[in-house]
């Protein structure tokens, strides 16, 4: 089973954006002094470039570890793969904490016990035990769900938004822009998610361009949503932590129909469950490439990884804002290092020699 070009493009356009719709708008509003669109655009442009590079790597039709092995040998490649797997686990931590906060606040009237979030790790263990290529078919299902979910939310929200509040864009100046950019790095590592998929899809003509453009199309949807979000909440956007769950509640029909917007929120939450499990599965895949695919190893590794992340999320349950600020301040460079620099550095690796005629 190989991932098709269409499935990959569905992921970039319709699944990757979902992780940027919860805390990111409020976080950007805070860090970028309410001038949140330009930092978002900058991240999308940078990450689209990284996606372009990561997809170019697929031309070699080799896995991530095989590509590394050309330059560093089998042992070196295995070590680097494990290092990359650790990065993916680190990168998944904030989205998992964010999702936990989202689940506890949006799906329950009163703050429930932490245990309600624990079944998610059963799910990740199950997902990670499956071949990574099975995601392709999942994306086929998720893409329309995401489109319906986001379109529903936007239709219900857009009438309440005052787009005049977004202008003049760029008013916060260079410092606002830079603060905004540095605070949002932890949300942008989608190119890194593509690296474990190398070898599981075929490079077709123009895939890199198509991928980057689809990623930008998803980014356009996120930027539009962020504009709608800011247009609704304006100065209080900083306090609206759960982006797409709060914008639609001012729709006039809600009073009569109840929170029908929850149907769309549920759809996006479903897409998010898969999106947030990707880093974990990518990490398991990298470790499998490093250690070799033994009979029960995928299941064992997926259980270990999921249990480890459950423990980490439990330990950091109350320290989410500290972690978020700390990563934004001290460790933000790790994200572009692995998601932008690594694909760029890997481009010259293992280049096939031109065969003599």
């Amino acid at each position: 089973m190989k991932i098709s070009t269409r499935q990959l493009l569905f992921f970039l356009a319709c699944v990757a954006p979902v992780g940027k719709l919860i805390l990111l708008p409020a976080r950007l509003a805070d860090a970028a002094q309410n001038d949140l669109l330009f930092p978002l655009l900058a991240h999308y442009l940078l990450q689209a470039g990284a996606v372009f590079l990561a997809l170019l790597l697929a031309r070699r039709e080799e896995s991530f570890t095989e590509l590394l092995a050309h330059a560093f040998g089998r042992t070196g490649a295995a070590i680097l793969s494990v290092l990359f797997a650790l990065f993916l686990l680190f990168a998944s931590l904030l989205p998992l904490l964010e999702q936990k906060l989202f689940v506890q606040n949006v799906f329950y009237d009163t703050l429930p016990a932490f245990i309600v979030y624990a079944p998610f790790f059963l799910f990740t263990a199950y997902v990670a035990s499956k071949p990574l290529s099975s995601y392709g078919r999942v994306w086929d299902i998720l893409a329309p769900l995401f489109l319906v979910g986001l379109a529903g939310i936007l239709i219900l929200s857009v009438g309440s938004s005052d787009f005049g509040a977004v202008a003049p864009a760029g008013a916060a100046g260079g410092s606002g822009f830079l603060k905004g950019v540095s605070s949002a790095f932890s949300w942008f590592f989608d190119a890194a998610l593509l690296l474990p998929l190398l070898g599981k899809f075929r490079y077709t003509k123009g895939l890199a361009w198509k991928g980057a453009l689809c990623y930008l199309a998803g980014g356009a949807a996120v930027i539009f949503f962020t504009a709608v979000f800011y247009g609704i909440f304006q100065g209080t956007a900083v306090n609206q932590l759960f982006g797409f769950t709060v914008t639609s509640k001012y729709f006039p029909g809600i009073a009569m129909l109840g929170r029908v917007d929850y149907l769309f929120i549920f759809l996006l939450a479903l897409v998010m469950a898969f999106y947030n499990s990707m880093a974990l599965q990518g990490s398991v895949e990298c470790m499998l490439q490093a250690f070799g695919r033994k009979k029960y190893l995928p299941t064992v590794l997926s259980v270990i990884v999921s249990a480890g992340m459950l423990t980490a999320v439990t330990l950091l349950d109350r320290g989410f804002s500290d972690v978020l600020l700390g990563v934004g301040k001290w460790a933000f460079w790790i994200f572009p290092l692995f998601s932008v620099v690594v694909p760029a550095l890997m481009l010259p690796l293992g280049r096939k020699r031109r065969e003599a005629p």
């Binding site: 098709s4 269409r6 499935q7 689940v103 799906f107 329950y108 009237d109 429930p112 309600v116 979030y117 079944p119 998610f120 059963l122 799910f123 199950y126 997902v127 499956k130 099975s134 392709g136 078919r137 999942v138 086929d140 299902i141 009073a255 009569m256 129909l257 109840g258 929170r259 929850y262 549920f266 939450a269 479903l270 469950a273 898969f274």
Partner: protein, 477 residues
Amino acid sequence: MKNVAGDLNKTKEALKKLLPAEDILTFGFTSARGMEFCCVFADPITDKELLGEQVIRALSDYDGEAKAEEVAKKLTSPETKTEPSLEALADEVLLGNPVLLFAGMDAAVVVGTKKIFTRAISEPSTDVAVKGPREGFIEDFKTNTSLVRRRFKTGDLRIETSEVGKRSKTVVAVCYLDGIAPASAVEEVKKKLQEIEIDYIPDSSYLTHFLSSRPYSLVKQVGTTEKPDIFCAKLAEGRIGLLVDGSPIALTVPYLLIEDFQSSEDYFVPAYRATFTRLLRLFALIVAIYLPAFYIAAQLFKLQLFPIKLLLTISGSIRDIPFSPSLEMLLVLLVLEVLNEASIRMPKYVGMALSVVGALVLGETAVSAGFVSTPAIIIIAFSGIGLYAVPNLIEQTSVLRLAMLLIAGSVGTYGIILATAFIILYLVTTENFGTPLVAPYAPVVGSDLRDSLIKYNLGSLKQRPKTLRSPNRRRLA
């Protein structure tokens, strides 16, 4: 393997030794010229009238040689063959075909005078069509194959029979259209049938276990139908069908989940109507599985999901209920399942009484006694009706509904979402005979979407489904 001997008595005894059952009878007679014959037959399944007419009367003045070929020519039965092996002869007797032995024989003659017990061809109760053919398969294998053969007047229709079941030796026919069904899938079906080691096959449903790639899965992996028109339509798409002797339910592989949202009538009504009803079936199924679960999750964890006026109505009706919402819903669901089970098995004349007991005593009285609330009854009733919109998936969906209810009662809406994610992943990773279960949606197969939940006009369905990998894709010029 022993063969028949020239000595009639010795052969008869050897055959009786192989078939010691009391209902295996022998009948000896002598022709006018003094040649001795003996018929060995299974009493309950042999047509003795035909045997007398086509064998005994025909041989009454036999004066030819004691050779099986010669004797067979004298018989007036259209189905005869010669067989020297005793074991094969024993098998034929057990199939209902009498074996004719005679003095000095080189082989015995097998005569096809099997007694056929059939019921009349009728419309299957599970697949009623307002428009379109109303014939249904019955238990008789030959009738079923004739229903299929009648619809395909081409030599490309292959009906290849084999025996499955060490003791039942049930006849199973693999039906396909040569050049339309993919050869690899046909071979795989035959291989799987050959590998079955079981004593007894009472019904085609037994075979589904052996044909499934995940035999213990909740998810169905083999298509079923009771209607020959549907069966033939599936063969024409490139599927492989299986008819099992004694079963009115035919099997088809590869199976796609979407098949159960399509009905034969969809092809006899305008495309827009077919599309509407297919979407309606999907909606009904989603409602059937999720409505009770979301109702419970909303009551227990997220009251905001209800509009305020509905919330007031619900809170008024559940105020005095002694059970928790999830327990209340589980009880109502349990009652529905019991009523459902009882109504299927109960004699028809008791059905009316059961309806009265179910609707009035259990429903009305339970609400007025304050055991259960009216909304719970309405929700379960709606869910119960929704389940029957897709009758072929009832076994699966009723289990899923219960599972969702339990998850909703313990984890709430997020549990429902995670369970849905599990189901999606499980479904998309299920394949049988190399065909993804959820195609043409995952993976998306653009051309096959024309006959999925959305149905195009017949003129647009020029090609067979790509998912089925038919070597000849064009079906409409």
